[in-house]
C-alpha cells in the first residue's frame, strides 16, 4: 500500500468525488470553514503517511471494532490507509518477537514524529502486573512509546479517563493516559466506544494542519464534544414541555417523549451522537429508545446508575434513619435538660411582694 492515499481509495472503489464529499462533510462537522474540506481532501489525498503506533492496554477491543469494522467498507476504515499503522496487535499479522520488533523499528525510525494511539486504561496496581505485553507492564510500554511520540490520541473512555476498569472499586488501579503522560499533547476521544468520525476528524486535522484540533478542558475535540447530547437531542422539546416516558414501554416511550426520568444522562454528556448518529447515520441510543449512559464522560460508570434520573440520589441515603434518631435523641436530651432547668427555676420561685418590685 504505497503511493498517495487517493490511489488506494480509488483501488477500493472510492471515487475522488466521494472523497471530496466526505471531506466537505467532515470539515462541516468539525466546524471548520468550507475551504478546509478541500484543503483536507488535498492534504489527505497526498498523505505523507505518518507512522502510527497503536497500543492496546486494559481494553475490550470495542474501540478498534468501532473504527475499523462496520457492516460495509467505510471511509473511516479506509482512512487507515493514509497512515502507516506500524503496530496494532489486533490488526497486524505479525506476532510475538516479530511484532515487538516492528514497533521498535517504527519508533526508532520515526522518533519524535510518530502518532501514538492508545486504547484501554493503564493498571498501576501490583506494579502493573494486571496487564503486560511481551513481559513488560503497560506503564513501561506507554512511557517508552510516549517518549518519542509527536502526539498521543487516547481512544475511548478507558484511555481517556480510565473507563470501566477504573470503575469502583478499581481493582487494578487503572488510570488514564493523561494521568501518566504530562509532557505530550494528548487528544482524548472518549466514548464507549467512540464515534469513528471523531477519530478520522482528528487524523484529518493532524494531517492537514499538522496540529491537533481545539480541545476542551477534558482534552476532547471541541467540535465534537462541545455540546451535550441533551442540547442536540430531537426529544428535547418534550423535556421542555415536561413530557417524560415513565417506563420503557409506556405511551410516553412510544410517543418518543423525553427519557430523563428513565435515567438519560444526556444533559451532562458531551458527545456528537445526536448529530452524527451511529452505524452510518442509522440511529443512536436515544433514538432507539434508551437513555444516554454518559459513556464519553469521566467515571460514567460510577455516576449513580444508568436508570436513575440525574436528579435522583446517586447512592441510597444511608445515614438518614440514624440522623433522624440521633436528632430525636439530641432533642429529647435537650428537652430533659430544659425541663429540669425550668423546674428548678420554678422551685426557686419566691412569691413577689410589693417590696420586691424595687431594686
Amino acid at each position: 500500500m504505497q503511493g498517495p492515499l487517493i490511489d488506494n481509495l480509488v483501488r477500493q472503489g472510492i471515487s475522488r468525488r466521494t472523497f471530496l464529499k466526505y471531506c466537505a462533510t467532515l470539515a462541516s462537522m468539525m466546524a471548520l470553514p468550507p475551504t478546509a474540506g478541500r484543503a483536507m481532501a488535498e492534504a489527505m489525498a497526498a498523505s505523507r503517511r505518518p507512522s502510527v503506533i497503536w497500543l492496546p492496554f486494559q481494553e475490550c477491543t470495542g474501540c478498534t471494532e468501532s473504527i475499523t469494522r462496520s457492516h460495509s467498507p467505510t471511509i473511516e476504515g479506509m482512512i487507515f490507509d493514509m497512515i502507516s499503522l506500524d503496530y496494532q496487535e489486533t490488526l497486524m499479522a505479525a506476532a510475538g518477537f516479530q511484532a515487538e520488533e516492528a514497533r521498535h523499528q517504527a519508533m526508532k525510525e520515526n522518533m519524535g514524529k510518530y502518532l501514538l494511539i492508545v486504547d484501554g486504561s493503564i493498571p498501576l496496581g501490583q506494579d502493573g502486573a494486571f496487564s503486560c505485553t511481551a513481559g513488560r507492564s503497560n506503564l513501561e510500554t506507554l512511557k517508552e512509546a510516549a517518549a518519542g511520540a509527536a502526539a498521543i490520541v487516547a481512544m475511548g473512555s478507558c484511555a481517556s479517563f480510565g473507563g470501566i476498569p477504573k470503575a469502583n472499586p478499581n481493582p487494578t488501579g487503572a488510570v488514564s493516559v493523561s494521568d501518566i503522560i504530562k509532557d505530550k499533547p494528548i487528544v482524548n476521544i472518549p466514548g464507549c466506544p467512540p464515534i469513528p468520525v471523531v477519530m478520522t476528524g482528528v487524523l484529518a486535522h493532524y494531517l492537514t494542519f499538522g496540529t491537533l484540533p481545539e480541545l476542551d478542558d477534558k482534552g476532547r475535540p471541541k467540535s465534537f464534544y462541545g455540546e451535550t447530547i441533551h442540547d442536540r437531542c430531537y426529544r428535547r422539546p418534550f423535556y421542555d414541555q415536561g413530557k417524560f416516558a415513565k417506563t420503557f414501554d409506556d405511551e410516553g416511550a412510544r410517543n418518543g417523549w423525553c427519557l430523563f426520568e428513565l435515567g438519560c444522562k444526556g444533559p451532562v454528556t458531551h458527545n456528537a451522537c445526536a448529530t452524527t448518529k451511529w452505524n452510518g447515520g442509522t440511529s443512536w441510543p436515544v433514538e432507539s429508545g434508551h437513555g444516554c449512559l454518559g459513556c464519553s464522560e469521566p467515571d460514567f460508570w460510577d455516576a449513580g446508575g444508568f436508570y436513575k434520573a440525574l436528579s435522583m440520589p446517586a447512592d441510597p441515603l444511608k445515614f438518614v434513619a440514624v440522623a433522624a434518631v440521633a436528632g430525636a435523641a439530641v432533642g429529647v436530651g435537650v428537652s430533659i435538660a430544659n425541663r429540669a432547668k425550668k423546674g428548678s427555676a420554678k422551685a426557686a420561685h419566691e412569691t413577689t411582694t410589693l417590696a420586691d418590685l424595687e431594686k
Binding site: Y22, S28, R254, G256, G281, T282, G289
Partner: protein
C-alpha cells in the same frame, strides 16, 4: 436498513420552530457579496449551512427566496448528493446525503460550476487511459 424500518416513530412531532430567527436575511446579502467577488476575481466561495444557527424554517425561507434554477446535478457518491442551481445563476444549493438518505451537510456554493461537478485531471487521465485501452482493443 433504512431508519423507517425501525419501529420507533414520533407520533406527535412538534411543530418546527414557529418562526424565523432573522439569521437568513443577512445571508442573502452575504451571497450577493460573494457573487460580486466571483464576477470581479473569479473566486469561488461557499457557506456551510450547518455551521450557522438556522432553523428548518430559516432554511426553507432561504431556499424559497433563492428559487429554482435551470440545472440540477445529482451525484451518486456514498449516498446521493444534489447540486442545484438556484434562480440566481452562480449560486448553487448543495446537499450531501449518506447511504441512508440522511442529510450529512449542506452548503451554498457561489461559483460558475460547483467544484465537485468538475472532473479532476487525474480522473480525466484515467478516463483517457481507459478509453485508449478500449480503442486499442477494438
Amino acid at each position: 436498513m433504512s431508519i423507517d424500518a425501525i419501529p420507533i416513530h414520533v407520533i406527535n412531532p412538534l411543530p418546527t420552530e414557529p418562526g424565523l430567527t432573522g439569521n437568513a436575511l443577512p445571508l442573502l446579502r452575504e451571497i450577493s457579496e460573494m457573487l460580486r467577488r466571483l464576477l470581479e476575481t473569479g473566486e469561488s466561495t461557499a457557506i456551510d449551512l450547518s455551521a450557522l444557527p438556522l432553523t428548518p424554517i430559516d432554511l426553507e425561507w432561504l431556499r424559497e427566496k433563492l428559487g429554482e434554477g435551470e440545472i440540477a446535478v445529482t451525484l451518486q457518491a456514498s449516498g446521493e448528493s444534489t447540486l442545484n442551481e438556484t434562480a440566481c445563476p452562480g449560486v448553487w444549493w448543495i446537499t450531501h446525503r449518506n447511504e441512508n438518505g440522511a442529510v450529512t451537510s449542506q452548503f451554498i456554493e457561489v461559483s460558475f460550476v460547483p467544484e465537485l461537478v468538475k472532473a479532476h485531471p487525474e480522473d480525466v487521465k484515467i478516463g483517457r487511459d481507459h478509453l485508449e485501452l478500449l480503442i486499442s482493443d477494438l
